[in-house]
Amino acid sequence: MLITINAEKCTGCRECIESCPYTSIEIKGGKAVINEYCQFCRTCLSVCPEGAIVEIAEEGDKQKADLSAYRGVWVFAEQRDRRIASVAYELLGAGRRLADELKTELAAVLFGADGDAARELISWGADKVYHCGDPIFEKFNDEPYAKMLTALIRDYKPEIVLAGATPLGRSFIPRVAARLKTGLTADCTALEIDKDTGNLLQIRPAFGGNIMATILCPDNRPQIATVRPRVMKRIEVDHGRKGEVVPVNAVNLTCRTKVIETLKETSDCMVNLQEAEIIVSGGRGMSNSKGFAMLEELAVLLGGSVGASRGAVDEGWIPYLHQVGQTGKTVCPKVYIACGISGAVQHLVGMQSSDIIIAINKNPEAPIFNAATYGIVGDVNEVIPLLIKKLKEGRQ
């Protein structure tokens, strides 16, 4: 369906412009025209005194033709405290590969932060960076983020938009997809281009990681996906890469939420598990919170973070922020040490892409050993203190 204005009948009286809730009608050459912001709400149809605004059915092949208007791959580069999240660099790696395959350009979109941060994104693979440094983006509020990205997508029409499957990306990107009436695939772990159609194949786990699904968005654009952190590979950074930073202005951004304060969880070791290179993780086999004090000591020794299975979190031995697995975080460190974790599939999906997995469990039949690179069958209360002792000795 399409709403158009008959230029012969239009007198340029501006009645319709006032009526449009989406500011999608403008005067060009003395006549009203409808731009791409039109949401087909039909409000204007009854307003026109000349009856110049009409609704016409689109032909079946019209939609296909429209898809070709969408070109280019975009990466939404999130920042927090003016620092670009590591997932943004990973997305640029994935986006670069997709853009090259489609023979198109790769652009990054950055809200908040400064020009230096924007230029940094070029070194990591972006050809272009759309940067809006408006202070409204300093703290994360869904509405201005969603409105701004929606407006940019309408203006520039990328065919693919990738964002991190982080709390921020997974919260505001759905609003963008809802507004644009296009598909959004959550938490993808692999992305490929269909050789025949050029469509994006979006691969993601579902049903608690028990199955994988390939999702397509064949008839709508852009194809939007959130991508799991720590899954995609960055490209080599090249500070000599050429690219363009395009400053964009924030327009009409209203916001009904307000971030009063941002509180970091404090601990001797890092809490942000998704950034950690080494994670020492504990399950029910740790027996109590003292067991976790031991894991923290080991994590500090290794320069890593402490993770936990859902069982340990449910027991109250460690806060939820540390939970790894389907209902917690997905991590992909260099080394994941699973201590007293049996390895239910819900836990495995959150850590099985770690480079090296070390399992310590007294039950030789525990499923965690199937996912492990190295396995030690033994009591955590014996193995871990010994490991700590030996690591300390090795230091001296």
């Binding site: 869904d142 709508n220 939420t257 190295y374």
Partner: protein
Amino acid sequence: MMNIIVCIKQVPDTAEVRINPETNTLVREGVPSIINPYDMHALEAALQIREQTGGKVTVITMGPPQAESALREAVSMGADEVRLISDRAFAGADTWATSYTLYKAIEKMDYDIILCGKQAIDGDTAQVGPEVAEFLDIPHIAYVRKIDELATGMIRVQRLMDDGYDVVESSLPVLMTVVKEINTPRFPSLKGKMAAKKAVITKMDMSAIDAEEENVGLKGSPTQVRNIFAPQVKSDRKMLQGSVEEQVDALIKELRGLKCLLQ
């Protein structure tokens, strides 16, 4: 007095779902249906708000006729009213079409607060809550772990982030998705169980919610599932041998070889 709407979903217990490796299809036979666990926390949050301010808790679900049992369970916990949004035309909906359908159902209702679980355990998308908020043109706050304050026209909550949490204020009406930390869902009371048996389930089909056919179900879904397959688990494991001390030594040696240890 608050009008609170809770959106719930009936899901298969995912711990029981497997894929048949020969046919590459889901094995769902004998898998029990449950209320999505996160939605139980959303319902509990709604009941607690009602206890604090007075008001009404309405639980809605979009699903097949058998989703009625999930709504009866919600009544047993204390929901005042329940609605089943059900129509053959809704089948095959992705998150866009589902959100549109819920929006059309909610649009005609009175609400100050809409609560959803942070995600459903079958699809794990976490998208329907925020999408419904966008359709309704109201703000939303995702991953709420605590409600700090609820006053006239305003709510202040804690939103879970990667490395801590944000304290966020919003005007009402607002949609919130909640994480498990927010509360412990209550068990149904005997009185609740009796009420559940007698509860009248309001059914609403496509025309009752005034939805457009092109926007619901498979037809209204921009995304399609092309295929499903079983995940691959890598198995390059090496069981370390010997006494505990020998195993620990071997492990440290391996780690050192991989340059994983701080010097």
